[in-house]
């Protein structure tokens, strides 16, 4: 099977990691206070969309402080509780890593240094699961720096060879440390991402997403990844996407259909002819999923997204209800340019 071609591989990789975080409120105070204007850790998220864990992890990696990074990892890894926004601390940690590893502004010399630094960590700390995973992640980052964001067919042959070389090294790094990483859901997720670019089957990726859950019952981020890979434009199908969304919702116990709503909402733009025109989404189920989400993790962003999707689904009573709750301060980045049109439509008799 052909590797799925993403329009912007690195950006998509980051978006994937970030996607599950969007509804989260609460910013990092302690770390942000330490940062100076001259000292930008890349990939800073908008206020309200980040967490102290992500900021701290990014900062420690950015400054090459492995010991403190590992101490942080040990702490977040032990917790299976979801944060206020429904996100696992471990995922915030990975988001912090992604800020340094998936930096669109960088070139190969940067990634070469990242690889050298993490290779050294892996050598000096052979029994550290994190050190081995970070080296794998750096190899992935370097692979992606050669891959670039264009269609795969447009990647120059020499760059393609380098991409495949580093991707193979990444997979080898993860596989060769399988025993050490056997309890690390993050290793499954990294392998899953690598496998997706290496052309692994949906079933193989699905197995890794399930294995990650077995290793850490709270870590269902693999299904977010799997959902993206299941989009028709990346070689999946509407039925496959729907099955992933329903399975993800079922596996995250106690939250109803929240994850179903989230996955459809988050990938809405991935259905080229429109979510309600070209997917198998079931609006009543999605609507219930939004309500489940808001009951558990109420936040402004998800409320606005709920209203937007209600409008697109042409569910006027729900749209009116939600616009009333939003009041006069809609969240622009949730609506893109649709707020005014939806508001006018909702008020029409």
């Amino acid at each position: 099977m052909r590797p799925p071609v993403l329009r912007s591989v690195r950006r998509a990789g980051l978006a994937l990691l970030l996607s599950v975080l969007l509804p989260v409120a609460g910013a990092s105070a302690p770390i942000a206070e330490q940062a100076s204007a001259q000292d930008p850790v890349p990939g800073a998220l908008p206020e309200g969309l980040t967490s102290p864990i992500a900021d701290q992890a990014a900062r420690l990696l950015w400054w090459g402080d492995f010991d403190r990074l590992e101490a942080l990892y040990r702490t977040v890894r032990q917790s299976t509780a979801l944060s206020d926004g429904g996100t696992l601390g471990l995922q915030w940690f990975r988001v912090g890593m992604a800020r340094v590893f998936s930096n669109d502004d960088e070139t190969d010399p940067y990634y070469a240094q990242l690889e050298a630094m993490t290779r050294e960590w892996a050598t000096v700390h052979p029994d550290s699961a994190l050190a081995q995973m970070l080296y794998a992640r750096a190899l992935h980052a370097r692979a992606m720096s050669f891959r670039g964001g264009d269609y795969y067919a447009k990647v120059p042959q020499a760059a393609r060879r380098q991409f495949e070389h580093y991707l193979a090294l990444e997979i080898e790094q993860l596989n060769s440390h399988a025993a050490l990483l056997e309890h690390e859901s993050t290793a499954d997720l990294y392998l899953m991402t690598a496998g997706r670019f290496a052309g692994w089957s949906h079933d193989a990726q699905h197995a890794l997403a399930l294995d990650a859950l077995k290793r850490n019952p709270a870590d269902d981020v693999g299904f977010v990844d799997l959902a993206v890979a299941s989009l028709p434009k990346w070689g999946g199908s509407t039925a496959q996407f729907d099955a992933v969304a329903r399975e993800a919702a079922r596996l995250r116990t106690g939250t109803g259909m929240a994850l179903y709503a989230f996955l459809y909402d988050d990938n809405a733009n991935g259905f080229s002819a429109g979510l309600f025109e070209s997917s198998d989404v079931d609006w009543p189920t999605m609507r219930q999923g939004f309500r489940d989400w808001m009951a558990r993790w109420p936040n402004e962003y998800m409320l606005n997204r709920f209203a937007l999707q209600a409008c697109h689904a042409q569910d006027k009573p729900t749209t009116v209800e939600l616009l009333d709750r939003i009041g006069t301060r809609p969240m622009g980045r949730a609506w893109h340019n649709d707020y005014e049109a939806c508001r006018r439509w909702a008020r029409e008799p």
Binding site: S36, W63, Q113, A116
Partner: protein
């Protein structure tokens, strides 16, 4: 960091109390009293400056016993400085030209203190201290500097990075070094022939050209900043990370630890330029503002590399001789490089081509002296 602001403030206040206008306003019969008054105000201004440089911030993340020990160190040193400053000022009067103004005295005293601060960080109190310091300054994450707002506040963070059992050695070493302020440092090791910054620049150039593995990898913040085109403007934390990496490179390629540490010390001292506001838009070959403001003169000799046609190709600093008001008994460490950039910039225009060799090989390097005189 606010050091430059403090320095500017200190200078402003020190010079304000010792401007020629002030001196002129003093009537001749009260001249002696006026000079004493100006000297006292100068001492107060300098003490105000030192108070800020040596302030020990209250930082909850620093162990209280360490904080208290550093505070005691600073308090004792400041008390000593207050005692010795009148003698230092008298010393400047004694060495000043007959027509020297109070401003000249203030400038000389400022230069002396800036140089003492540099010497403080250059000198080694002994191998035990050096071994601990060498470990501390290599600690990952050290250069993610916290906003301590004082020189000693940042140094305190270095001490915090070492095991508690090692801290007494560092503190004792600092006490020894501070006690050396105002004394000749006969045993001060000269700067290495090739500076850490030059070594770093050479490796960075190789990496930018596609070389893969340096002896030590860069941390991401450094790689991101210096391997970009154009490189990012340096800031304190980045400069710290760069020299930390340069030190690691030197150690891994086999430099003796003492030599590597010395190179790091010379690379990380605060130079006279660091204590001043930016040099503004002065032309590259003009008299450097830092030198002009501090009354520095002297000469620099360049070793000019010549191409096969006998034309200027490149230049490096071969030697320097500086005259710095206020700095007499010690090398002017804080001022050493004050003419370097301008001298090298001046090289191409001052160089007179040499006769090419008959066999077409490049002529040997040419030594060229550039005088820097305020007259």
């Amino acid at each position: 960091m606010d050091d430059k602001i403090w320095s500017a403030l200190a200078l402003a206040s020190a010079w304000a109390c010792a401007t020629p206008a002030h001196a002129a306003a003093a009537a001749p019969p009260q001249a002696a009293a006026s000079t004493a008054d100006a000297d006292r105000r100068l001492a107060d201004a300098v003490m105000g400056w030192l108070d800020k440089i040596l302030a020990v911030p209250d930082t909850p993340d620093v162990d209280p016993p360490l904080h208290d020990a550093v505070q005691a160190l600073a308090t004792d040193h400041l008390a000593r400085m207050r005692r010795v400053l009148p003698a230092w000022i008298a010393d400047e009067h004694a060495h000043a030209a007959p027509a020297a103004s109070d401003s000249d005295i203030a400038r000389a005293l400022h230069n002396r203190i800036v140089n003492e601060i540099a010497l403080w960080r250059l000198e080694s109190p002994g191998p035990a201290y050096d071994a601990i310091l060498l470990r501390a300054i290599q600690r990952p994450g050290l250069c993610d500097l916290k906003p301590r707002a004082s020189y000693l506040g940042l140094l305190q963070d270095v001490f915090q990075a070492v095991p508690p059992a090692d801290r007494p050695t560092l503190l004792a070493g600092e006490r020894t070094l501070l006690a050396h302020w105002g004394t000749p440092r006969a045993g001060l090791a000269p700067a290495p022939a090739s500076s850490l910054a030059e070594d770093e620049a050479a490796t960075i150039a190789r990496l930018r050209a596609g070389a893969q593995d340096p002896e030590a990898p860069m941390v991401p913040v450094l790689a991101s900043s210096v391997l970009k085109d154009p490189p990012a403007e340096p800031w304190d934390s980045l400069t710290c990370a760069r020299h930390q990496w340069g030190l690691a490179q030197a150690l891994r390629r086999g430099d003796a630890p003492a030599q590597a540490l010395l190179a790091w010390r010379y690379a990380t001292i605060r130079t006279a330029g660091d204590w001043m506001a930016a040099d503004g838009n002065r032309g590259a070959t003009e008299y450097p503002l830092t030198a002009q403001r501090n009354g520095v003169s002297g000469w620099v000799s360049l070793r000019v590399t010549v191409d096969a046609q006998g034309r200027y190709a490149s230049a490096a600093i071969a030697d320097r001789h500086l005259v710095v008001p206020g700095v007499r008994d010690n090398p002017p460490a804080a001022f050493a490089t004050v003419f370097d950039t301008a001298s090298i910039a001046m090289g191409p225009s001052r160089f007179k081509p040499v006769t090419p060799k008959a066999d077409g090989s490049p002529p040997g390097p040419v030594i060229m002296k550039i005088d820097w005189s305020l007259q």
